[in-house]
Subunit: 366 residues, 2 copies
């Protein structure tokens, strides 16, 4: 198979993002390293995998857990010091020795943080069928964060029309969708975010009924009482820590808390203490942690709902796209400082070199 005329045996540049060393405390850009190596643009004869060119990399808070010493590891293995990082991304198949994939297929799933990846078990990749929507959406609204919001809200929160919903980190990759799902369901929804701009976005773009900047609030228990004088039916928690503790104090009887993540805790050596768990009993609250991993069987149903909603403009999505894989370390670290507005994506190549809607091989030669 000739992938590129004249380049069948050639090697090409492959920039990679490596973890420098295990991270403790706040993640910084300098905890990662961008290195240039090369890759052969053809799979060996005995491969059963695919070779992909990576188009978008997804920056997700859960990745922080993979950067700590395994002692404190997350639900998945840690990255190794000096080794390639990986994460969700969107890619194009440029060589395939697997029956399910052909050259030219667009896919999303776990890929290396590099320009080209060899995926030895491509069964885990999703083929992208709807290519009229921005391909970057498959790192967000149509990818893992989208399904996370969907499963977390509809399955874990079990929402009912008219219920009062609170979402933290509400302008993030997951939060902005949860708020819009809540509105579609006929709920009252308030979001918290970390800047005035984000708060404006929540109200003007995503249709939240109200929103506040948690950084300018000094007593979150009182803040939540102000926005939810009758209490919270559903809290979709992306942050943990003090906000979760305050939400616990403001839950209504039979309230539900979906714990999606605890970004406020990921950079701490010792997690913050929560003092108001007794509210679980007195208010008969269900608090449930979940991972999207359990819910991939819902992906077809999820897409069926989402594609028309996006096409009709009934659900919108804000992305924060940085261009050039060399900026991936700063984009990932930025998540923990609230730098991103909306879903943080890294476009592997600079825009001028190709257009993601009509992807060309030009960039391969740069």
């Amino acid at each position: 198979m000739l992938t590129l005329a004249g380049f069948d045996t050639g090697r090409i540049r492959n920039k990679k993002v490596l973890l420098k060393d295990f991270v403790s405390g706040t993640l910084e850009e300098t905890d990662m390293l961008v290195e240039t190596s090369s890759v052969k643009l053809k799979l060996p004869e005995d491969s059963n995998g695919v070779l992909v060119k990576n188009i978008y990399l997804s920056c997700d808070p859960y990745m922080r857990g993979r950067m700590s010493k395994p002692l404190f590891r997350s639900y998945i293995d840690s990255f190794q010091p000096g080794s390639l990082m990986s994460g969700f991304g969107v890619s194009k198949v440029i060589d395939s020795r697997h029956d399910n994939f052909r050259e030219g297929d667009l896919v999303w799933g776990i890929i290396g943080w590099e320009e080209y990846s060899v995926i030895s078990s491509p069964e885990s990749l999703f083929k992208i069928e709807h290519t009229d929507l921005p391909l970057s959406y498959y790192t967000g609204i149509l990818g893992m964060p989208g399904l996370t919001a969907y499963a977390g809200f509809y399955e874990i929160c079990a929402p009912k029309k008219g219920e009062k919903v609170f979402v933290s980190s509400a302008s993030g990759a997951v939060g902005q969708l949860v708020g819009q799902f809540a509105k579609l369901m006929g709920c009252y929804v308030v979001g918290s975010a970390g800047s005035r701009d984000k708060v404006d976005l929540l109200k003007s773009k995503f249709g939240f009924d109200d929103a506040f900047n948690y950084k300018t609030e000094f007593y979150l228990n009182g803040t939540l009482k102000r926005y939810f004088p009758e209490g919270i039916d559903i809290y979709f928690d992306n942050v943990g820590g003090k906000m979760l503790d305050a939400a616990l104090r403001n839950m209504k009887t039979h309230g539900r808390i979906a714990v999606c993540g605890m970004i406020s805790q990921y950079n701490r050596e010792e997690p913050e203490g929560l003092n108001h768990l007794m509210n679980l009993v007195t208010k008969q609250v269900r608090m449930e942690g979940f991972l999207v991993n359990d819910h991939y069987h819902l992906y077809p149903k999820f897409l069926e709902m989402m594609i028309p909603l996006i096409r009709e403009g009934k659900i919108v999505y804000v992305e924060d796209i940085i261009e050039g894989i060399q900026y991936a370390p700063s984009a990932l670290a930025g998540l923990f400082h609230g730098i991103n507005v909306g879903k943080q994506v890294v476009k592997v190549q600079r825009t001028k070199l190709y257009d993601s809607y009509a992807y060309e091989y030009e960039s391969l030669y740069t």
Copy 2:
């Protein structure tokens, strides 16, 4: 209606337990007061209630919440300083002006902490049909704590055969039943308690697979790892605090925590901090607080299961019965020091004066 020949218009002694003042910190016997007043043994013509003679009073940890200032109040109203306390108990109807009750009926439900109570809304009382079992059982295994264990275990924990179950405060009113339910279900069950005697009881009498004295363990995370090397599927939490935090670290994927109570916290001015909530996410754990109030519709089904199990000796129950209402304050305070072994009950009158199986009026005249 002549309740007692010659006493139809007379008044009789009525010892009562009053809350002295709102309690902060550890509950002490001296926070309550026993006072003697009198009661008329006949209801007024215009009453729609019942007059009961109280046989057993139930000492339950939740009562501590009713003894604090309303600012920190529990899910039910606080008692008032200088006023009568109330709680679950077993009583005999000695006068009734309500269609559902007749003189001589045995009932259980919320009564005053006194020798005689006028119940103005007796609809909330349960009539006792099975009188061949100890009447005191209706404060425990066949009353509120029994139904709590039943609903908490079968409904909230959703147990499956072979699962690994941990129960704290395992020799208490609720815990001893949860352990036995778990064994009936074919689970592996370990309990924690606060003395060597209680630990022995768990293993020898209630059939727990293993048990430990939490007071002699200095690192509960390690303790739980020892008893559950593969993790905990179900934690039935009666204590909260450090034990809950350690259990969170030892849960298996898709584990469930039923939060029934947090006795370790009730006497604290500030609740203890929990640091390991992130395990809810990484292990996809459901943690649910519940109150028995939601589950009274299950009571007939519960009785149907329990009565034959008790009669056949397949479920046993240990009670700690103190005699004389004057000891009720020390019995209640004792709960928070782990003085009781099994369900703490107060028999209102001393034994010699009557026999609960063949209750007589003699004691009325003493």
